[in-house]
């Protein structure tokens, strides 16, 4: 283009931009007249202009930075990084190079992978990667490569893993199909690795032959869990990932082939994306080619999204039909049409393998002259079973087959029937055993049926139900339906599976109680809802007086049964969590039960139980955490009920709680409970609000389903004046643990207090009382609610029900109804009492506020500040202080306390 021509183009272009969008094209047509070429130029530029808003707005150095940071640094060989001596380059991938290195400390070979600076520089993303990678690695699954370290040295981020001496599947398959049995073997092992990872919520997202290593002994190792996620969403402009389709030309495309349709579209992915990728790999292993091919990534993506692959049989005529079905089901473009869990795929693969093995076996054994080799291929079939529970049945299955086969040889006529039987039996055993490793995440205990015919013993069956629920609720990672939600099934003949489905749980526990002479027979059964299989069942024949022991025994056995089903990491943690000492664990459960009731006497009992648990197992982190919780609770509640023993003095709580909480964190920093305990102490006893929030958040990160963490964090937020967030957290806590008394009560209490919704509060607290009419704390809080509304009669009535002095309520009532002298008498009573027992200074302050004695109120508040009275934590938001808030002394006090942080 000549400069003159260019001038015309730009002049019209600029003038067009001055016009309104709708008038633009008319203008261009007019301005260009007959010069169609000119018009074409201008229109093309305008079109580009609309698309170019972000174009080159990001400076070149940013573009180059990404090039630079991903460049090979082959100079690393021979160098030492941290304590790793780099030996040679193993390979190069999108995420950086992988080297063979020697760990000079431990003298072992490791694989060292450099993490691109770009990713490593993003602390948050790196942390997420770390967590995912560790979670997968910590499973110690034989098919998942172990991560040794994720570290940084000389500002280079790296990861070291176990060095797998073998070939990648990529090298293995390179353009040719592999044997059917090998293909099935590899696929099964990969599926098994994925199943374990999915169980703990880790999706691989980048399953491809390069990430699958096959060791010389044919053990398969899956690499790079979590790494794909590190790369994801790294587009600095925030553009959606479907831009993947527009990759630049000139780039060799490899693994677009393994991406799922949802990845190709840039949509959110879940575990089913791994199922797709494994389907692609299976297809490739069988046929020697990938199902979706193309010269450019765009072509590959469009086939993934639109085309059905050619049948496996086209390239591998001998492949069994079942395999075609498995591949087709894995490669359903709609992920709802795919296998829904990797375990379902695993089951099919295993069943098929088993069937093929058996077929081969029978083919050999029925030949008259070759009847001796029966179990020849047993060895390789057991290479890659699922991690848990399968081992025993796996060895058992062939031996029963062996027996039957022996029989077949004696009665050749019955051969065919027997084959069918063997196949069914084997498939059944496999199905059962793989299901056996499925994790139970939620459970309902149905009301234990009372078949004694004597309604007077209802309390026994109900008590049994309740205690089972209570005990099981204490188990972390298990959601147990509340008593309320199961009570409607009482007295109904129900089908466990149907009820389980209705309640949306994985397993159902049912029970029946019968009376016999002076004894009691209790039979209990646990059923897996997903396949109606019986997980466990037992009959207890005991004396009536042993009922409590029976309850505990049942709980323990259910727990043990469930514990067996926890996988990998969880199981490993479980030993630490639950303590191997059953008695210690039981004591812990009892302790938690008492702690949950929050009354002073209960807290003392809780402390006693926790301490005894610790005596039996000093490394039992949860017991330490329960102990810390109980100490802290001692100073939070106040006497909600008459107590046999006064609460622990605050000074003592101060010296004890921290040691217990920190001990718990040291023992097992991965537990949500320990961080919650620490957070609560920091919040109420140290007034370290930032520290407390950090701990609560950490707890929720570790276990987003831990109701108490949501509760404590909710209380924290509400007390800090962050109402919306706080209410959300409390509601979430209630959702997770609808039967929890403290959570129900806290919600009610906050409705009355900072949330300013006393009617809702009253309703919520009444509901809580329905759950447990004799639980004093709910009455106490309800009394507060009534007082808030000026309903003094009701307020006093609730207090009387509990049987505590109710100083504040009474004094407030007198003050509000003009009986000042009476109010002052209450104060005198309190002073008398404080000679024997600690009465928090702010209790006085509360009453003086009600009496409008501001100076006196401030005097006591100052005292409270001086001893950092735990309950003063709510200074910033409690309604009781509203009358003082406009006073500059209050602002000053609040500032000095540091409690005004939001």
């Amino acid at each position: 283009m000549t400069p003159e021509r260019w001038q015309r183009v730009t002049a019209i272009f600029e003038a067009a931009l001055q016009h309104d969008a709708h008038a633009r094209s008319a203008y261009v047509i007019e301005a260009c007249g007959d010069d169609r070429e000119l018009r074409g130029e201008v229109e093309a530029m305008l079109a580009s202009h609309y698309q170019a808003s972000r174009f080159i707005e990001e400076p070149a150095v940013a573009v180059a930075a990404r090039l630079v940071t991903n460049t090979t640094s082959d100079s690393l060989i021979g160098q030492t990084l941290a304590h790793y001596k780099v030996l040679s380059l193993l390979g190069r991938g999108g995420m950086g190079e992988v080297y063979l290195a020697e760990d000079t400390r431990l003298g072992r070979k490791v694989a060292l992978k450099l993490l691109p600076d770009e990713f490593a520089g993003d602390a948050q993303r790196l942390a997420r990667f770390r967590q995912e990678a560790r979670t997968a690695s910590a499973l110690s699954h034989p098919n998942i490569v172990t991560i040794h370290e994720i570290g940084e040295a000389d500002s280079v981020h790296f990861m070291t893993t176990e060095f797998v001496d073998g070939q990648s599947l990529r090298q293995y398959v390179s353009k040719k199909a592999i044997e059917l049995s090998t293909a099935l073997d590899v696929a099964t092992q990969v599926a098994s690795a994925l199943a374990a990872a999915h169980d703990v919520g880790v999706v691989h997202r980048d399953i491809k032959p390069d990430n699958i290593m096959i060791r010389r002994d044919r053990l398969v190792k899956v690499l790079d869990f979590g790494l794909a996620k590190l790369a994801e969403g790294s587009d600095a402009t925030g553009a959606p990932t479907n831009r993947l389709v527009n990759t630049e030309p000139g780039v060799v495309m490899g693994t677009a082939n393994y991406m799922s349709p949802e990845q190709a579209r840039g949509a959110e992915v879940d575990g089913r994306t791994d199922i797709w990728s494994l389907g692609v790999i299976l297809y490739e292993m069988l046929t020697g080619r990938v199902p979706f091919e193309g010269d450019t990534p765009a072509e590959v993506f469009s086939r993934i999204l639109q085309k059905e692959p050619l049948p496996v049989a086209r390239y591998a005529p001998d492949a069994p039909e079942e395999l075609q079905r498995i591949v087709t089901k894995s490669l359903s473009k709609d992920r709802d049409g795919r296998y829904q869990t990797i375990k379902d795929l695993l089951i099919d693969l295993q069943a098929l393998r088993r069937r093929l093995d058996l077929k081969a076996e029978l083919a050999r054994t029925v030949q008259p002259d070759d009847g001796t080799i029966i179990t020849a291929n047993q060895q390789h079939t057991t290479v890659a079973e699922t991690p848990q529970g399968t081992a025993t049945t796996a060895t058992h299955a062939p031996s029963s087959a062996e027996y039957i086969v022996g029989e077949v040889k004696r009665h050749k006529g019955a051969f065919l029937i027997s084959v069918v039987a063997i196949v069914l039996a084997a498939a059944g055993i496999y199905l059962y055993s793989t299901l056996g490793s499925r994790q139970i995440k939620s459970l309902a205990v149905l009301p234990v049926a009372n078949s004694t015919g004597d309604p007077n013993t209802d309390y026994l069956s109900e008590g049994l139900t309740e205690s089972l629920i209570d005990n099981l609720t204490q188990l972390p990672d298990l959601q147990v339906k509340s008593l309320n939600s199961v009570m409607r099934y009482k007295g109904r003949e129900t089908d466990a599976q149907a009820v389980g489905r209705e309640l949306g749980v994985d397993a159902v526990v049912t029970g029946r109680m019968m009376q016999r002479d002076d004894g009691l027979v209790v039979s209990v059964e646990m059923v897996d809802v997903r396949d109606n299989s019986r997980i466990w069942g037992r009959r207890y024949d005991r004396k009536l007086s042993d009922l409590l022991a029976v309850q505990n025994e049942i709980s323990r056995e259910v727990l043990n049964k469930l514990r067996l089903r926890l996988t990998g990491e969880e199981e490993k943690r479980a030993t630490k969590r639950y303590s191997e000492n059953t008695e210690a664990y039981q004591l812990y459960l009892k302790g938690r039960y008492h702690w949950n009731r929050r009354a002073i006497d209960d807290l003392w009992k809780g402390i006693d139980n926790f301490q005894r648990a610790i005596q039996l197992d000093p490394n039992f982190a949860l017991a330490w955490s329960g102990l810390a919780d109980s100490y802290v609770a001692m100073v939070l509640g106040g006497p909600f009920a008459p107590t046999n023993r006064p609460p622990m003095p605050i000074a003592e709580v101060r010296t004890k709680w921290g040691a217990a909480a920190r001990r718990a964190v040291d023992l097992d920093p991965e537990l949500a409970e320990v961080h919650t305990s620490l957070g609560q102490g920091l919040e109420w006893l140290e007034w370290d609000l930032a520290g407390a929030e950090r701990e609560y958040k950490r707890a929720l990160e570790l276990n987003p389903d831990y109701a108490t963490a949501h509760q404590r964090y909710g209380v924290f937020l509400l007390t800090s004046g962050r109402k919306d967030e706080g209410l959300r957290e409390l509601k979430r806590a209630l959702e997770l643990d609808p039967a929890s008394l403290p959570i129900n009560a806290d919600l009610g209490s906050f409705y009355c207090g900072p949330l300013g919704m006393p009617d809702q509060g009253i309703e919520q607290l009444k509901k809580t009382i329905e759950l447990a009419p004799d639980w004093p704390r709910a009455h106490f809080l309800l009394s507060n609610c009534y007082a808030e509304k000026g309903m003094w009669n009701e307020a006093i009535q609730e207090i009387q029900q509990v049987g505590v002095p109710g100083y504040v309520q009474r004094a407030r009532m007198y003050a509000a109804t003009g009986r000042r002298d009476e109010a002052l008498k209450v104060i005198a009573e309190m002073k008398e009492r404080s000679k024997q027992q600690y009465v928090a200074p702010i209790t006085f302050a509360f009453i003086y506020v009600a009496l409008d004695e501001k100076d006196l109120a401030f005097e006591y508040l100052e005292k409270g500040l001086a001893d950092r009275t735990p309950l003063m934590r709510n200074l910033a938001t409690a309604k009781g202080w509203d009358k003082l808030r406009s006073d500059p002394r209050f602002t000053d006090l609040l500032n000095r306390s540091g409690l005004n942080q939001k």
Binding site: F55, V61, A65, T69, R92, T247
Partner: protein
């Protein structure tokens, strides 16, 4: 990382700014380590208002690399112009080498992760953009310069206006036109 001696870099820079084009070839390996450091810092600090940072980083790089006493910049505008041009040379050269490395290394498979990386690399292909800028310069020297300063030098509209000694409105208009044309040209090929 290789420690570059400031003196040699300065001498090469002087030589280059005085018209010795071969100086750049010698300069490149020396500057590379520093560029890598800039890049890393850049990526770390990124996503929080990055545009302003680029000039600061370039300035910092020059201050670190160049012995100020030996280089006589006429003024700040001259410095920014030189810096931008140099940045362009370095970055384009860098991208070109990387491309050839990739092509020569035919066995390299692009992984999912790398495909994700390509999303980042998208936007301009620096080599193609450089070529397009050369064509633009033939028709329209100033607008080509605007892109060099803004995109390669990371200068703001105001700084660009200062270097070219025209108004900021002009620079804004130039920028719009140049962007549209470059976008069109790059997508046409």
């Amino acid at each position: 990382m290789t420690a570059a001696t400031p003196k040699s870099i300065t001498q090469l820079l002087v030589a280059w700014s005085e018209g010795d084009r071969t100086a750049l070839d010698e300069l490149m390996p020396l500057v590379h380590a520093e560029l890598r450091r800039i890049a890393r810092n850049y990526m770390r600090g990124e996503r929080k208002g990055h545009t302003l940072q680029t000039t600061a980083l370039i300035n910092e790089a020059y201050l670190r690399l160049v012995d100020q006493k030996q280089v006589h910049w006429q003024n700040r505008a001259h410095f920014l112009a030189i810096a931008s041009e140099m940045m362009r040379r370095i970055l384009v050269d860098y991208a070109r080498r990387r491309q050839s490395q990739k092509r020569g290394d035919g066995g390299v498979q692009v992984t999912l992760s790398e495909a994700a990386e390509l999303v980042n690399e998208r936007g301009p292909d620096l080599v193609a953009l450089d070529e397009a800028l050369l064509s633009l310069a033939k028709m329209d020297e100033r607008r080509s310069k605007v892109v060099e300063l803004r995109f390669f030098g990371g200068l703001s509209i105001e700084e660009t206006a200062e270097v070219l000694n025209v108004s900021t409105t002009t620079i804004e208009r130039d920028w719009t036109i140049a962007k549209a044309w470059l976008h069109m040209t790059l997508n046409r090929e």
